[in-house]
Subunit: 425 residues, 2 copies
């Protein structure tokens, strides 16, 4: 006699979908019964794929009465959101890797699922194969998490690592990454920080048990990071990484952002290179942990999708209220600290006149804006009598630093403000 | 009207027990109703501790009909095992941090619990606050894990880190660690690798879904690692760490060990310093991930204990078959590769005569035992005409290396074999 197999419907059979299909074929208690694709005629190299279960109408998946779990892997909000809602209405549990949908419509999605007593799991949406969502919900549930610093986008981490090791410019490395398939033809979603912002929005919501609104997340990409900044950072004991961070202050106000950051070489994140992702989180009673691994890719992402599927499968039939720890049970919205009020350390690169008053002038401007300095280094006095000056500040207010930058831009001693990058503080 | 509180009994109120008690006081759905201690009269600095619930008879905890979950934090096999079995017979779920009990009697313990439909959770037993047990059981369940490399003992990692940064001897650093409370008066359990061996036994059993017998785990401590080895390793691009490793070969045979190892500075584990622990695991479809964080301590360990407690609390009353993914459902015993048949790279430090034939002699002996060499470096020719020679081999068989070591010991060119340490390969 055959055991009852749990029936799975897949929406999307791209890189991750193929990995999920192949991985599930090793499990005897599940069966993929329907797969929706964009183009049925596309040549696919997937062994044991029964073409008769492939459809180009995703509603054939979500409306299929046989299916227990719908796995959504197409991304974007439309039609993904409507497909998922329809599936939930039809009594299906959901596994998704859709970071954009979660960041933009998470609250509505989880409320809808809860009304229908269905679970929505999304381990694969954040940091690919790294186990982070389920651990926060389960084994770390005793903690008050108040800080996350993470590398959540493999493309930008690859580009920054290459810029560092090759001493190359952003545009040269981007071109190379595009040729190798590590960056898309239109790289905006990655290099401008959208992808990382979606992920940190959901991660912070979960970790802080308060809803973080994507429109409150400060975002700055890597396109302005220069090879010279990489070198200067290295000389000062830092690496430059695109860091997605989330902090709760003592009043419970959130500060969630994505931007390049100088990270001490002594920090674990400084050693996370190429397409690897990592999440460091701090809380009480835990202290700090760092989880690192592959942030994308066919098989690593499939590990997370299949883990979510198996968690549902294991509880189906044992209880009417599946996976109570995996439910979303926070409805408070996080209050935000305005970016101008946030406090940071800064790295500042100035193109200055090689004039004996220049250091004093920089010091005076900083003092005027309540900015204390950790170091000023002057280098490369060039033929046209200009000097590269690198400043590292102590912790100061963003609005003061923005004021100082304006003052530098009008100072007669400064030709140009090359870069302003925050420093891990 | 008050919600029903889940009743907790604690056995042990030392460092971890105190942390658990303090952490649980923030949760309104649980209540510690009985605590067993060794010495009732000991002065404890625990706010809000009601002395009337403290007993020096642990059977008052396990026999208390009110209690839902018993938390065992005394360690060792006796009386812990009997206490836990009695608690299970009395209908209680178990949370334990007892790595020795799990390593020596895990199979019996889990079978006993399963017969009584009770769960035994043990996140805190391995790697303190790092989430590793629950992730392997849940979100990583779709993987075939075939390799673990881990730093599981904080005391030895502290000693090795200090030896490295201070260029000090093992005995000097041990003394300092004992004075600071990082090492015990009798440090045997840590420095001889017992603690790490208990942990890797349970971790490998779980990851491989096959029972690993502690008597098959090869174990070597750090007492013979010399400051000179640290320096030589550094010069060659390595750090020396006490690594607990577990591998499955293609025939499914296990190779589980604890010993010092030269780890490439490019590896994540090389940057895990002082009392921090880390676990790297590799499997399919995941690839490799590394989880790092505090491996011990009052609060980090409490994070894991409380996480386990809350997982049980969340499901109590919703189903008669709690936490199906957290059950132990593997009963096969792992076949082992004999240590002499294992293959490794080696670091070898030789005290040799400064004789022009010496390098040739070393090369000949290695060739005789089928050992290829990656490098030979000769240094520090001293006044009495001896030379320090450092050899790094290619991957070769343990039994061949042991043969070569015997041959070096009788060679007229070699005064002494200083060290033989395996190298990450």
């Amino acid at each position: 006699m055959e055991n009852k197999k749990i029936k799975i419907g897949l929406i999307g059979l791209g890189t991750v979908g193929s990995g999920v299909f192949k991985t599930l074929s090793d499990f005897e208690n599940v069966e993929v019964v329907k797969i929706a694709v964009k183009n049925k005629n596309k040549q696919r190299n997937i062994p044991n794929l029964d073409e008769s279960i492939v459809t180009d109408n995703a509603y054939e998946v979500v409306n299929n009465p046989e299916i227990d779990i719908v796995v959504e892997l197409i991304g974007g909000t439309n039609p993904a959101f409507d497909l998922i809602k329809t599936a939930i209405e039809n009594g299906k549990h959901i596994v998704t890797a859709n970071k954009e949908l979660l960041a933009k419509h998470g609250e509505e999605l989880f409320n809808f699922a809860e009304q229908h007593n269905k679970v929505v799991l999304y381990e694969a949406a954040i940091a690919g194969g790294i186990p982070i969502i389920m651990p926060i919900k389960t084994i770390l549930a005793g903690n008050k998490i108040n800080k996350i610093e993470a590398i959540l986008n493999g493309t930008t981490n690859y580009i920054l690592t290459k810029m560092d090791v090759q001493h190359s410019s952003y545009s040269d490395v981007l071109k190379e990454a595009q040729e190798l398939g590590y960056a898309e033809t239109d790289p905006t979603g990655d290099v401008e920080g959208f992808d990382a912002a979606y992920k940190i929005t959901t991660l912070a919501t979960l970790a802080f048990k308060k809803r973080v609104k994507i429109e409150n997340v400060y975002k700055e990409g890597i396109t302005k990071v220069r090879a010279e900044d990489m070198k200067a950072a290295n000389d000062l004991g830092y690496k430059i990484k695109l860091i997605a961070s989330a902090k709760l202050d003592e009043q419970g106000r959130a500060d969630v952002r994505v931007h390049p950051m100088l990270i001490s070489k002594k920090s674990t994140l400084a050693h996370i290179d190429y397409v690897t992702n990592a999440v460091s989180l701090t809380g009480h009673p835990l202290g700090s942990i760092t989880l690192s691994g592959p942030g994308a890719g066919e098989f690593p992402t499939a590990s997370s999708v299949v883990g979510d599927i198996l968690a549902i499968v294991k509880e189906l039939g044992t209880t009417d209220y599946l996976l109570p720890m995996m439910r979303c049970d926070h409805h408070e919205t996080a209050e935000f600290i305005p970016v101008s009020e946030t406090e940071n350390k800064y790295y500042l690169s100035l193109d200055a006149k090689n004039n004996k008053g220049v250091i004093g002038n920089i010091g005076n401007i900083c003092a005027e804006y309540n900015i204390s300095l950790e170091s000023i280094v002057q280098k490369n006095v060039s033929e046209n009598n200009t000097a590269d000056i690198t400043v590292i500040t102590e912790i100061c207010k963003e609005k003061d630093m923005q004021g100082a930058v304006k003052a530098f831009e009008t100072s007669e001693f400064i030709n140009k403000v090359n870069s302003l990058i925050r420093v891990q503080g």
